[in-house]
Symmetry: C2
Subunit: 358 residues, 2 copies
């Protein structure tokens, strides 16, 4: 039993490190964590490098660890807590460091929508780390923004992976977000939303409510199912959102092959994603008084990656530019977990900014 639940002793490596410290173990590190709805990534970065090279090229990673979903709305609180602790322990263990070397931890976690979510995760972190460690918990969109701006909190970010969210912050710290409320609450531009609409189109084609579509053969083949009736059982056999979202490539392929239903699903998703960015930009007035001001728009997540002829990310940018010609798209050079680590360092050096709870 550890902190009230059984997870095995994920910190046992520290006894070994204390007995035989690696010769090159850094004396001070920060942890950055990106907790998404599909996977969770934790990186460990030496503090010394950040002091010498702030806001520069990608920092060196001492270690990187990967685990599953840590969105408590998707997998429940116990599983989310266990995943977060394990992935942080693994990153520290791989780095040759231990908890006493940690100066700050920044977690960007999807499903953090309210101060009570933030407080819940902080309550999981406090018993883990020594009291001097600064702890920061944010929505994963904040870390994603920082991954595009190399730690500077200004502009807008759009994440579209299994889930989707748009988040923005002004130079003077005003924040806004749109979408990010999960599949029940209308995140139709997310990978889950796109794939769920494709599955729905198959059911409607089969029962006579909608036109025939290439999606039927494409997705049934991918899933190894022999009929649309079996799709219902498949859908509810597992509550994982990521499993559904994994079907997005089939939707893109069908749209590229000329299927009108698949095409409409992607066009609608583009509209939804662009709308969520517009809502944030307008509320924060990121585009200036005349609407032409320049601001960064960071694009993150598998749905927005430009690797297909039907390029969802490019279409979203095109939509945004119609309203906001000054939007400057950024495809981050580092991953969101590194963005979280850069935030940890920024918060640490400017304690007046951000929310410090420790």
């Amino acid at each position: 039993m550890k902190n009230g639940y059984t997870i095995g002793d994920v910190w046992s490596f520290e006894r070994h490190h204390q007995a035989l410290p690696p010769p090159d173990a850094p004396s001070h590190v920060v942890l950055g964590l990106d907790g998404g709805t599909t996977s969770t990534v934790c990186v460990c970065i030496p503090l010394q490098h950040l002091h010498l090279h702030p806001h520069s090229d990608p920092p060196p990673l001492l270690a990187r660890a990967v685990a599953g979903c840590s969105n408590h709305n998707s997998v429940g609180e116990a599983a989310a807590r266990e995943t977060l602790e394990q992935v942080m322990a693994e990153a520290l263990s791989k780095s040759g460091s231990n908890r006493s070397a940690v100066q700050a931890v920044c977690l960007g976690v999807s499903g953090v929508n309210h101060p009570t979510d933030q407080e819940m995760i902080l309550s999981w972190l406090r018993p883990i780390f020594p009291s001097h460690v600064k702890l920061y918990v944010q929505n994963d969109s904040v870390a994603a923004l920082a991954s595009g701006t190399m730690g500077k909190l200004h502009g807008c970010v759009l994440i579209a992976g299994t889930g989707c969210i748009s988040y923005g912050i002004t130079e003077d710290g005003r924040e806004a977000r749109a979408a990010g409320a999960g599949p029940v609450l209308g995140d139709w531009g997310s990978g889950y939303g796109i794939a769920a609409q494709a599955l729905t189109a198959i059911i409607r084609a089969q029962d006579g409510r909608g036109p025939q579509t290439m999606l039927t053969n494409s997705i049934l083949n991918t899933l190894g199912l022999s009929s649309s009736d079996e799709l219902i059982g498949w859908t509810y056999a597992d509550r994982s959102w990521a499993r559904i979202a994994a079907l997005v490539p089939e939707v893109v392929s069908c749209a590229e092959a000329g299927d009108q239903i698949a095409n409409k699903i992607l066009v609608d998703a583009v509209q939804e994603l662009a709308l969520s960015v517009k809502a944030v930009v307008q509320r924060l007035c990121l585009c200036g008084e005349d609407g032409n001001g320049s601001f960064p728009i960071v694009m993150v997540g598998g749905v927005l990656e430009a690797n297909k002829r039907w390029d969802i990310g490019k279409e979203v940018i095109s939509c945004i530019h119609k309203n906001f010609p000054g939007a400057r798209p950024i495809r981050p050079k580092v991953e969101p977990a590194v963005g979280a680590a850069l935030l940890a360092w920024n918060f640490l050096t400017k304690e007046s900014k951000g929310n410090c709870y420790s």
Copy 2:
């Protein structure tokens, strides 16, 4: 342990009945069960009455028992199995009868979409009942149709409660269904679908993607929440579909008070429900060659109950009549569980019809 899982000995009452049989215990009974996504009802009916008064007024109930959701797609297989066994045991116990008096059992269960679902539930039933008992498993829509036609399998039924489905059958036994694929797969006319769209409208109003709506105050007040942000946590705290669907009366109230967003949600739901009926009627040609033929359309479920100014069921019928003027709406006088019992009797007396697996 019973049949591989622990449920306590729900059949222990039989030892008492065998020792002291109630003086008026009927020698032969049938069980009818309606397993919905919100609740499960089981009734016990004396066989003698059905022999003397087939297709007549509501039959006398020896007993009626109620339990929770038995849709395995919603609550999982173990919980669905336990609920089904418990509610049947309770109905038999209350009737003063026992399993040796049972001649036939008909279960109409939501979530039965494929022969494998049917076979799974039959495999739960076989170890429970003596081998002479005839066992029938159907989708709950079949029992609902029978509740409107007093056991005759002909016509179309529309169920709109927590879930929704349209099912039809011709005099010569051809069947079709539409919708009934659950919330992930586009059952937008269901109570869950209506309420989820209302919750989505609140999120969109809050984050700037949609217009303000009365739904915000109405639903937050009903749930005792102080902000829209808290709605996300509430939504994912519990996976029950029925909990979301319970908000339909708030949507109807807002629409009646003139809220355009709530009104549009209900208008869309009416279109979806009417479309699912049309798809079934067309595939089965229930309306005859000229489209004007007469057929029964049985209306079942809380969403269709006529108790409000904004009457969803009436609007659906009005929509259906535009295409099929010969559709004869029926509001059943008995509940779907009684429909299932009437089916059990029908199947028993005409073994050539229906699927008999025992």
